[in-house]
Symmetry: C3
Subunit: 129 residues, 3 copies
């Protein structure tokens, strides 16, 4: 992934579903996590109003600026991204039942970038039979 903005939501449910289909696994677990420490994978609703509420909420508790408020920002400017990712979480674990993601009605998997405009990777690991 290389996203064009510092912060951005990407609905990755289709990619996880594709990976599950290719695996052929019918019963088990899917782990999906960001491989970088300034991004989150989480499950919530695909609703843009809610996403701007998340943005406002995270900026209130771990504001990006002023950069000097953070010790981590001696050489970097992304301390806020590390804190935001911690609130939203690194990973999700999802049940696989009958070959499908065992989801409730509104569950969708998102990648949430907090320090974009650089290459990032996502891990999808599927175990079961």
């Amino acid at each position: 992934m290389n996203l064009p903005r510092r912060r951005m939501f990407v609905n990755i449910t289709p990619q996880v579903e594709d990976a599950l289909r290719e695996s052929g696994i019918r019963e088990g677990l899917v782990l999906c996590n960001a491989m970088h420490i300034t991004a989150s994978v989480f499950i919530n609703d695909d609703e843009c109003g809610l996403h701007s509420d998340f943005e406002a909420f995270l900026e209130r508790f771990a504001p990006e600026k002023p950069y000097e408020q953070y010790h981590h920002n001696g050489f970097e400017d992304n301390a806020d991204a590390h804190l935001k990712r911690q609130i939203m979480g690194r990973e999700v674990v999802v049940a696989v039942t009958n070959g499908r993601l065992d989801f409730g009605p509104w569950e969708q998997i998102f990648y949430y970038e907090f320090d974009g405009m650089r290459n990032k990777r996502l891990l999808i690991k599927i175990i079961g039979e």
Copy 2:
């Protein structure tokens, strides 16, 4: 689940233990998650003072009212529930050892409802042998 209040804690450890016993699995992992995006499953202490501290803590950071403070609340009134669930987490993964939940002395599993008075579901997935 259909809980009588907007917000409520339910200790679901006995249900998870029952599911584990029925599965016959001796070594593996249990995933337990809310299937709805306005509820959490988390592990902490079964102590009512602590639960009211969680309530106060979450209301401070993602207050229910005024409803208009959230973009998500154009047609809904539960944006705070989505944010609260994100702080508390969606799921827990617990080790199974010798057929039992491999818990420390005070670990208990809770379902935490943030938008009750409607039908909700909980998922328990057990893998192993």
Copy 3:
């Protein structure tokens, strides 16, 4: 674990790698969690500036003192530790690929103690083949 201060970070990546090597498992999942409800296991960067940013961040949202602000503190003084652990998370699940922790460039596993100077335990469970 018995750490000499109330709050402290310990990089436990080497211990988890040792446990993985001993298990002989090549493909699967590692679960690593605190067995106590006043400590976290999380994944982030091993950078001491960032760690002091986490400290400041958590103290802002769940301050240790005054102790009387928390209902849980009738007989205890550690309500803040329960809240801090909830923000930072209980557990991590990490993919195992080719016998190694399948990590991005900066991912490191930490034990974060919020109520130290007493015996605590950590659980590492590895499943796979």
